[in-house]
Amino acid sequence: MTMEAQPQVARGNYAAPDSGVFGLALRTGVLSLITLGIYRFWAKTRLRRYFWANTRLGPDGFEYTGTGLEKFLGFLVAVVVLAVYLAVVQLVLFQFGLYFVFQPRTQAEILMQLAVIYASLFALAPLLFFAQYRSRRYKLARTRFRGIRFGMEKAAGGYVLRGIGLLIATILTAGLLWPLMTYKLEAWMTNRSWYGDTRFAQGGKWTAMYGPYKHVLIGLAVLIGGGGIAAFSGAGSLVPLIIVVGYLWLLVGYFSYYVQGFAYLTRNKQLGGDITFQANPKTSTVLGRVILGYLFIAIVAGVVFAIVAAVFGGLVRAMILEGGEASLSALTAVGIVAAIGYLGFLTLLGAMIMAFITEPIIRHIVGTTALVNVPALDAIRQRVTDKGADAEGFADALDWGGAI
């Protein structure tokens, strides 16, 4: 036998150079802008191909096989369905909004206003859950590793029902049952996910998610308990301090939950009963990346914005003053230029966020993940192709899941 002994563990690594995605993100962003958004399907595809191709487990890389065209076609179908739904829902809610949203005068009206806002969010909830499941299914169906397809069963309906039920439970318990929602929904998807002919399984317990969740709870406790005690004991001057501490704790707790919750769920996944995973991302690293990234972007964006605003402001003043009376066409021209400038600025921001926040976080998450029991992969067989249904058309139309 010439077969070399395979290593037991395949470590993840992200192979792209630092912030290597910036050029691609900016180019595709600009193309999306000048095509009035039509190119965004191809932009998303190219970004995913880049991220997938640079993600390795051991020596082997992932492959993203989705196409921009299928996303565009899926979107066209989703648009028709959603146009009907959204036009009607939005009109009806606007009708209610007219009763309450403008100038609420009494306590009751303010409550009603909140209710309307929540109702408008809730009207979208079923569609969002639907899009979320469909999006994961599409991504898996278009992902290959070692030439073998991933895949997911058609179970978006059950996901929507559970999602809504769990969301209501989470809201009614003021967020106390959020870990239950996270765990159950992830388990529903994982238990229907396949690599080739082999099924994934979600292990662990939902109660264990309270470990990562504890800092969110502490933040809430500080806000509610601390604030209450300070107010009642007459130490009212402490309230602002408590609010700041509570909010910061809540924010950090949210990141901690996001990162460590993911890690817990990944560590407790199995593939075919004998392949397991390691995941040890650091909350501090992710949080540091986010803070440093936004700081850097804020500085760059601030400088760019100041320059553009100075040039543009001078231009507008000159146009208005020289023209004597600003004509409608001049005003329109200024408005159009300002709108394009604003959108271009957003495009630049998007590319920077992708390169200085998203990509470093992906690098960290991938680099701290590993697959255990590599030889067991050899027995996994191919699965048939999945047409991918709407190819994420609903998710795109609902703006779910961002650029990648």
């Binding site: 191709a53 076609l73 146009a83 959204l86 007219l98 191919q382």
Partner: protein, 374 residues
């Protein structure tokens, strides 16, 4: 073309049937890539260079691995063979990059363009049906059922937004010269006394050079200073106002606002617009260049003629106004720009009777009104 590699390279081959990684020996051979299994050793097989495709998204430079596959008529999202061959950087990979003529080909299936055109047409048709047929009917129904006090509150909000849209912070565009305001009140009296209007009109002048006037929901009427400057007589202003009152009484602005909200939702859907910018743009644009339907315009004209005759103002002023603007082609009030045939409307306004029985405003009042912005 890079010279043919002298010696084979080792590669990883995935046959597309199992996830097992096969070590293979790879070398170039004429128009083919020759692939020989090593574990266990097997017979070589050949990939034709012109059918070889590279995995998209991997680095284009020579430092990353080269992932190859074959063009094949499969059911997959792209016509590709499920097998993959991974070559590490080296002479063989370089030779493939230089010799395979279609590594980056897209290979669209026949009929793809037909499908794209058909689906695009169907989607646009459906959206057009919603925007132009279903939404107008729905918004008319909803607008009819809106209580007047809500409509008024909404109209105030629209006017405040318009003020910002036109460049003033809240409250800074409204003109407030006392004598001018008194003249404005008398003009309003002149137009509304004994007319049994559904709405209490609220009339104001914004200090803005555009020749325009617009109606917001719930009886809010706004004249832009440019209209007062450009009008030759108070009867012209009264004529324009009579037309706008016609829109208010028919609830056209409310209908339009409902329609704009629905269309904005669809527009932001199509553009993938997450910022909600489309909503603001559409709302502002719709109010300013309100494109009411042809029927609504005709009805507002008819209302104006009736009102102008009943109040003894006469339609001559409105006709003068149409004539003075005919041919200018710029900065027309909304109802003129949507209906360029101003000469025709001037004729019909004159034909709708005409003779003025009483002056609209005294000369002093007219002067005060024109100076309302100080």
């Amino acid at each position: 073309m890079a010279s043919r590699p002298d010696f084979p390279a080792k590669g990883a081959y995935f046959d597309g049937e199992t996830a097992k990684s096969h070590t293979v020996s790879v070398t170039g051979q004429g128009e083919y890539l020759s692939i020989t299994p090593l574990d266990p050793p097997g017979k070589p097989f050949f990939w034709r260079l012109d059918r070889i495709r590279a995995q998209a998204g991997a680095r284009k430079d020579t430092r990353g691995p080269l992932v190859l596959t074959l063009r094949a008529d499969t059911d997959d999202e792209q016509p590709r063979d499920p097998a993959r061959l991974v070559l590490q950087p080296g002479p063989v990979a370089d030779w493939v990059r230089a010799s395979a003529p279609a590594l980056g080909a897209r290979d669209l299936r026949p009929g793809t363009w037909g499908r794209v055109i058909w689906r695009t047409t169907a989607a646009l048709g459906a959206v057009a049906a919603i925007v132009f047929v279903i939404l107008p009917r729905l918004s008319d129904t909803l607008a009819e059922r809106l209580p007047i006090e809500r409509e008024v509150a909404f109209g105030q909000l629209v006017v405040a937004n318009m003020e910002q849209y036109l460049g003033g912070a809240d409250g800074t565009l409204a003109c407030n010269d006392p004598a001018g305001l008194a003249a404005l009140a008398r003009l309003e009296q002149r137009l509304t006394t004994g007319q049994n209007l559904r709405y209490d009109l609220h009339l104001q002048v914004f200090d803005h050079p555009m020749i325009n006037a617009f109606a917001a929901p719930g009886g809010q009427l706004v004249i832009l200073r440019g209209l007062l400057d450009g009008a030759g007589s108070p009867a012209e202003v009264a004529g324009v106002l009579a037309h706008e009152i016609g829109h208010v009484e028919a609830r056209d602005p409310t209908r339009l606002a409902f329609r704009a909200v629905g269309s904005a939702g669809i527009l932001s859907l199509l553009l993938g617009d997450a910022t909600g910018g489309a909503l603001i743009a559409v709302m502002g644009d719709q109010v300013l260049s309100a494109s009411y339907t042809r029927e609504a315009e005709a009805a507002a004209d008819a209302f104006a003629y009736r009102l102008l005759n009943d109040t003894g103002i006469g339609t001559a002023g409105l006709a003068d106004f149409f004539e003075s603007l005919d041919g200018k082609g710029i900065d027309l009030p909304e109802y003129l720009s949507t209906h360029p045939d101003t000469a025709g409307r001037a004729v019909s306004a004159r034909a709708a009777d005409g003779a003025a029985h009483d002056a609209v405003l005294s000369d002093d009042d007219w002067a005060a009104l024109q100076g309302i912005c100080g």
